[in-house]
C-alpha cells in the first residue's frame, strides 16, 4: 500500500466538522427529549386494557421497530410534506423522524421494566391501602423507571449514531460535513476515520456508564 496519509488537510478544515458535531448533538438531545417523554406515554397506552387504544399504539411502535431507520427518515422528508401539507425545516424533520423512532424503542424499554415489577410489590401496596393510582405512582414507576435507565441510555446513544442517516436528506450534521469535506479535500480515508473517532469518543463513555449502572443494579438486587 503506497497511500500517504494526510490528516493535516482535514484538521485545517475542522471548523465545519465542529459545526456538524453541534448539529448532531442538537439532533440527539431533541430526539431524546421526544423519545423519553413520548416513549413513556406510548408505554402506558400500549398496556391499556382497551384494544381501541392498545392496537393503534402497538401498530405505531411496531412500524418504527420493524422498518429500517433510513426508510423512516426518507419517508418523513419526502412523504410528510406531500401527504399532510406540512413544510418544516430539515433539522426539525430530522428531529421528528429520529424522535419518533426512539420513542418506539423506549416505549418497549419502559413497558418491559414496568411489567417486570414483581406482582408481590403490588400486593404489598394493596395491603397498605394504596389505591390503584398510588400503587402505580409510588411503587411501580419509581422501580420501573430506574430499571429502564440502562436501556434508555443505550437507545439514546444509539440515536446519536443513527442520526448520521439524516445526512442523506441534507441535514448538515457531522456526517454531512464529513462527506462534503471528503469531497473537497480528496481525503475520504482521513476524513471518515476522524469522523468515526468523533462518534466513538462520544459514544464510548456513555456505554461505559451503562455498564457501570448495570453492574451496580445487579449488586443492589442481590
Amino acid at each position: 500500500m503506497n497511500y500517504s496519509f494526510d490528516f493535516a488537510s482535514v484538521f485545517r478544515n475542522f471548523g465545519p466538522l465542529w459545526d456538524g458535531l453541534l448539529v448532531t448533538i442538537q439532533l440527539t438531545i431533541a430526539a431524546n427529549a421526544i423519545g423519553l417523554t413520548l416513549g413513556f406515554l406510548l408505554a402506558l397506552l400500549v398496556m391499556s386494557r382497551w384494544a381501541v387504544i392498545r392496537l393503534p399504539v402497538t401498530l405505531f411502535i411496531e412500524f418504527f421497530r420493524c422498518t429500517p431507520a433510513i426508510i423512516q427518515i426518507v419517508w418523513f422528508f419526502y412523504c410528510v410534506p406531500i401527504l399532510f401539507n406540512v413544510f418544516l425545516g430539515s433539522v426539525t424533520m430530522g428531529i421528528m423522524a429520529l424522535g419518533l423512532n426512539l420513542a418506539a424503542f423506549n416505549a418497549e424499554a419502559y413497558r418491559a421494566s414496568i411489567q417486570a415489577v414483581p406482582r408481590e410489590q403490588l400486593d404489598a401496596g394493596i395491603a397498605l391501602g394504596l389505591n390503584p393510582f398510588q400503587r402505580i405512582l409510588y411503587i411501580v414507576l419509581p422501580t420501573a423507571v430506574r430499571n429502564s435507565i440502562p436501556v434508555l441510555l443505550t437507545n439514546g446513544i444509539g440515536i446519536f449514531q443513527q442520526s448520521a442517516l439524516v445526512a442523506i436528506v441534507a441535514v448538515q450534521d457531522l456526517m454531512y460535513q464529513g462527506k462534503t469535506l471528503a469531497t473537497q479535500t480528496y481525503r475520504p480515508i482521513e476524513t471518515f476515520t476522524i469522523i468515526a473517532l468523533v462518534y466513538f469518543a462520544v459514544s464510548f463513555p456513555v456505554s461505559q456508564v451503562v455498564g457501570y449502572l448495570e453492574r451496580r443494579r445487579e449488586a443492589m438486587a442481590s
Binding site: 400486593d123 404489598a124 394493596i126 397498605l128 411503587i139 422501580t143
Partner: protein, 256 residues
C-alpha cells in the same frame, strides 16, 4: 355488633382458579378478637390462599366474610367479588418475600402509606416510624435501603410497616420460610411481642415450635377445608383426625 361479636366470620368460602383448580372448598371459620390463629397444613391445602383472600387480594367464587360484624368480602350473583376497601385498610399483612419497596429507605417504606393513604404529616409519621423501629431494634437502620438489610431485618421492617396503619388484624404468610435458620428467631420474637400486646393475628407457618408457642388456636387446613380446629395442645399434641395426626407426625419427624 357488640363486643362479643366475632372479629372475623368466614362463611361458605369457595375459591378456585378458573373454576378448575379448587383451592378453598367451603371454609367456615369464626375468629374472636382475642384469638391468635395459626393455620397449618400441607402445601396446596389453601392456607396461603385463605390469607390472601382475607387481605382482599383474591377474587372468590362464593361465600362471605364479615369483619367486626360488618360485611367485608362477598361474591355477588354475577361472580364478581365485592370488597369493602375501608375495612381492608384495617388489616395488615406480612408476606414471605418481604416485599419492601426497593427504591425507598426503611423510613420511606414505613411512612409511605400513612402519609399517602391517611394524609398524616411527614413529621408525625416519621416520629411514629422511629418509635416502632426503636422498639424492634432497627433504629440504626432507619436510612438503610432494603438491599442493605439481612432477611431478618427486612422482615422486621415489613412488620413495622404494616403496624404503621394501626391494623385491627395482622396476617403473617410464612414470614420465616425464606429466612436463614439463624434469622428466624429475631422475626418470631417480634411477632411474639405483638401477641403479648393482644394483637389479633392469623399466621401461616411450617414452624411447629413457633405455632405451639404463639397460637391460642390451631386450624389444620387440607384439601381446601378445615379438617381440625382447636387449642394448640390438642391439635398439635393429640389430634382427633387421622389426616391431622399423619401430617403432624410427618412434620415433627423431619424436625427431629
Amino acid at each position: 355488633m357488640s363486643d362479643t361479636a366475632a372479629l372475623v366470620k368466614i362463611e361458605g368460602l369457595h375459591k378456585s382458579y378458573g373454576g378448575v383448580i379448587k383451592v378453598l372448598q367451603g371454609l367456615d371459620i369464626e375468629m374472636k378478637a382475642g384469638d391468635r390463629v395459626v393455620v397449618i397444613g400441607p402445601s396446596g391445602g389453601g392456607k396461603s390462599t385463605l390469607l390472601r383472600v382475607l387481605m382482599g387480594l383474591e377474587q372468590i367464587d362464593s361465600g362471605s366474610i364479615l369483619f367486626s360484624g360488618k360485611p367485608y368480602i362477598s361474591a355477588n350473583g354475577s361472580g364478581k367479588t365485592v370488597i369493602d376497601a375501608k375495612v381492608r385498610r384495617s388489616i395488615g399483612m406480612v408476606f414471605q418475600h418481604y416485599t419492601l419497596f426497593p427504591h425507598l429507605d426503611v423510613i420511606g417504606n414505613l411512612i409511605l402509606a400513612p402519609t399517602k393513604v391517611r394524609g398524616e404529616s411527614k413529621a408525625v409519621a416519621r416520629e411514629r416510624a422511629m418509635a416502632l423501629l426503636t422498639r424492634f431494634g432497627l433504629a440504626a437502620k432507619a436510612n438503610a435501603y432494603p438491599a442493605q438489610l439481612s432477611g431478618g431485618q427486612k422482615q422486621r421492617v415489613a412488620i413495622a410497616r404494616a403496624l404503621m396503619l394501626d391494623p385491627k388484624l395482622m396476617l403473617f404468610d410464612e414470614v420465616t420460610s425464606a429466612l436463614d435458620p439463624e434469622l428466624v428467631a429475631e422475626v418470631e420474637q417480634v411477632i411474639l411481642q405483638l401477641a403479648q400486646q393482644q394483637m389479633p393475628m392469623v399466621i401461616v407457618t411450617h414452624d411447629m415450635w413457633f405455632a405451639k408457642n404463639i397460637a391460642s388456636r390451631v386450624i389444620f387446613c387440607a384439601g381446601g377445608v378445615v379438617v381440625e380446629d382447636g387449642p394448640p395442645e390438642q391439635v398439635l399434641g393429640d389430634p382427633k383426625e387421622e389426616r391431622t395426626r399423619e401430617f403432624i407426625e410427618r412434620v415433627f419427624h423431619i424436625k427431629h
